[in-house]
Symmetry: C2
Subunit: 275 residues, 2 copies
């Protein structure tokens, strides 16, 4: 228990053998969300390898801590690992937004060994179809409404695609990711990360409606968004055309520099009435 000096510190580190300790592995898993045809969708892969071979799962994998043939230590930060695994398994780039969600460490969550996973939330703008690779036999954007996740609060045990549950504890991770996205729409400009560089107020409203799963009043939303400082900035341009069946052309906006929305756009209070 005595406190040692710099020399002892050096000796200690020289004698330390990592391989003697702690048989645990670390993975990253990403809840990648996008809007496709107006529907909030999540990127899932079909696992090619055990455990849970054949199950749908969130894209992810082991954080690299390996030594290469040259003996050089390949080490990546957790964020880098999440982006790498996402691209390896699906070809999708998390170029719009990436944030850490939470870490899941139930000792029984992986049958191989003790695996803790650091989950991420990613948003992707107008993505192509995924191309499966690595340990993924398939990859697909899946509308969240098709999964059996009634609300973010419930869920946990549920969560299926084509009737099957998700691998590991991925249903809970997905539910947590959805809840994070819903909450952050309220008090941050996160919704703009679902859209390209220029967008209309109606497109922004469509993001809120898809993520929250409820209708938003067009007039009040319009006025509200423009009244929040730094949320959006006018470009002076308007859309090329009005709506497909008529309608006025809309102003185009860009994301502003606000990090936080003051005042916030609060969700309507009533519980999870999807649609």
């Amino acid at each position: 228990m005595s406190i040692t000096g710099p020399d002892e510190e050096r000796e200690f580190l020289a004698a330390y053998r990592p391989e003697d300790y702690h048989p645990v592995a670390v993975t990253v898993d990403t809840v990648a969300l996008t809007l496709r045809g107006g529907a909030l969708s999540v990127l899932l892969i079909r696992r090619a390898m055990p455990p849970f071979a054949g199950f749908w799962a969130l894209p992810g994998g082991f954080v690299r801590t390996d030594k290469t043939a040259s003996g050089h230590l390949v080490e990546e930060d957790l964020d880098e690992a999440a982006m790498r695994e996402l691209t390896e398994e699906t070809g999708i780039l998390a170029d719009s937004h990436l944030e850490q969600l939470a870490t899941y460490g139930d000792p029984t969550r992986d049958p191989r060994m003790r695996v803790i996973t650091v989950a991420y939330l990613a948003l992707v703008v107008d993505p192509p179809d995924p191309v499966s690779g690595g340990d993924a036999a398939d990859a697909a954007w899946t509308p969240v409404a098709e999964l059996n996740l009634a609300t973010a609060d419930a869920a946990a045990g549920a969560g299926a695609r084509r009737g099957r549950p998700l691998a590991f504890d991925h249903a809970r991770i997905l539910a947590d990711g959805l809840e994070r996205a819903r909450a952050k729409l309220e008090y941050t400009p996160l919704a703009t990360a679902f859209l390209g560089p220029e967008f209309t107020i109606a497109e922004l409203r469509a993001v809120y409606e898809a993520v929250w799963g409820r209708r938003v009043h067009p007039g009040n939303f319009h006025r509200k968004v423009l009244s929040v400082p730094g949320f959006v900035v006018e470009t002076g341009q308007v859309t090329e055309r009005g709506g497909p069946r008529g309608g006025r052309r809309a102003q185009l906006y860009r994301a502003g520099d606000a990090r936080l929305l003051h005042p916030a756009l609060l969700r309507p209070a009533g519980e999870g009435a999807e649609q």
Copy 2:
């Protein structure tokens, strides 16, 4: 890439050797906060062992994934590990609140090897002085204002007790923990977790003032708290005495059953004017 069946899944697991993979360790570190003499304070330990021997640090340590002599695998969830390490190193129990904060995995954050740490936020009610144990040479409640963490946003590199920086990246973890606590006071009844089962509105206000580092208007706060459904419930009792230098006796309240405050108690907008 082919998808295997249940038999292959069993064979795979039987042949899997965890020790062949992934030299990485997982620790937990806890930002334990309390109110002492009106000052928001954090529990710090002085490290007895390298690395960073002699430095002040957050209490924490390795998640147990060891095999015992009997060959039985001792595995604990991350929350359990956080509580165990806190008690081992300081004697303090995180009995009032414990939540996961974030996970830190910079490859250079620990000189021994790749160590990722899962950070927790704990709140403790009216705690005793800590008793150092385990790898801790000392342990102490330290007023947050004494550390060189100007605001939660700044900080990161700074953070000291008696002029020394904190070990590892603990200054950033502490800053993130403080920001989490400040934010959650706004929209959850977290403030009640700093207090005993019965408290006055003034005591609750003292929590907000200590955590936010700013004065709160007594009259408006009082009315506001009582107007939020489920935040507090009246006990019908009043305090034994008024203030030490005179003053009316206060009603006693208990925490209500609300999980979220509607409407929220928003922080005053202006930037980090402590005190």
